[in-house]
């Protein structure tokens, strides 16, 4: 009876969502000139007249910009990065705050002092290969978030790769436990550094999280102003936060 009821409710919801599909544009046939995203792609957000958007007039960007030259509004080659860290950076600040809240929540709920034992000896292959793979994994994580403005990736995947390295240490060594003081202080200092970048932008350019460094040539490593710096702070913050979550889920109370 319960299953029948659940199937009915689920089917009703699925039918409702399928009916809703008619109101959005079909899969693959999106016209980007209807959306604000065209201006993110063309990198001329500053030339948009906001009052025209509100009254419903479309504005199509016309200026062509060439890879490898100066003069981009934001120097990063990866448009997703420039949205996450530059155009909508305030969203990212809020997101990092939510992540901080969840890490604190895990710490408060599980607050243990002693490391949990798995009760069995780690496999020989796991122990030996951890020593070989661990530097490579951490190097890969750092590579992902340093090159976030040029290639796919960025602070969030880089941080999770670093947290995966910490998880590998926990699995391969029964005695290992993360130094919580180091991880918490790294997390806090990186979070404040993000806000400090925003305040410097407010002082220099008149807007919170303003891109106050020169943009440089698109495609080179030292370009895109504050974007690589902010992504480095985000990567270290997410990495230390998720490492803290992995560490805290391994801790249990005395007795």
């Amino acid at each position: 009876m319960r299953r029948l009821y659940a199937i009915l409710v689920g089917a009703g919801l699925v039918y409702m969502l399928f009916a809703f599909l008619g109101t959005i544009s079909p899969y693959g046939n999106v016209n980007l000139s209807d959306r604000v995203s065209a201006h993110f792609l063309a990198k001329d957000v500053n030339s948009v007249d906001a009052s025209k958007w509100v009254s419903g007039d479309k504005q199509i960007p016309s200026k062509m910009k060439v890879f490898g030259k100066k003069g981009f509004e934001d120097g990063s080659a990866n448009v997703v990065t420039s949205i996450v860290v530059n155009y909508r950076s305030f969203d990212t600040l809020g997101e990092v705050t939510v992540l901080f809240a969840s890490a604190v929540g895990v710490g408060l709920i599980l607050g243990g002092t002693r490391r949990m034992r798995y009760g069995r000896k780690p496999n020989f292959i796991l122990r030996v290969s951890t020593g070989i793979l661990l530097p490579l994994i951490i190097l890969f994580g750092v590579y992902i978030f340093v090159h976030g403005h040029l290639t796919p990736g960025g602070g969030f995947p880089g941080g999770t790769v670093i947290a995966a390295a910490v998880l590998l240490l926990y699995l391969s060594n029964e005695e290992f436990s993360l130094n919580m003081v180091v991880s918490k202080s790294l997390e806090g200092s990186m979070g404040s550094l993000y806000v400090i970048f925003g305040l410097i932008g407010l002082a220099v350019g008149g807007a919170f999280l303003f891109n106050f460094l020169p943009n440089g040539v698109v495609g080179s490593l030292f370009s895109a102003g504050v974007v690589p710096l902010v992504y480095m702070t985000i990567g270290l913050k997410v990495g230390s936060e998720l490492s803290g979550v992995v560490a805290e889920i391994h801790e249990e109370r005395e007795g």
């Binding site: 899969y27 792609l41 909508r88």
Partner: protein, 114 residues
Amino acid sequence: MVYAISIILIGIGIYGLMTQKNLFKHLISLSIIDTAVNIFIIATGYVEGGKAPIYTKSLPNFAIGKFVDPLPQALVLTAIVIGVGTLAVGASLLVRIREKHSSIDVENMKGVEE
């Protein structure tokens, strides 16, 4: 068609939330719904024949229709990481519930008033 896949996955997640009595299965159902919603949001930005929104030497100029929409991707990028955080909070709550009520099955919990 990706819309259809994600909507069916949402339906399966809702079904799991309604039928299962184990709280761990509730966590797994919520995670399935999370993945499905992420797929749906990405699918709203897909353009047929578009490329990934990264400027390269072979795609130097901007032209509408050459790239897919980058805005949903930027939203989902942060949503996935938040998903891990909330899942970890849920998992740690389950550990505490197991300690206090000696079970995570809704019907076998001790000390819970009906």
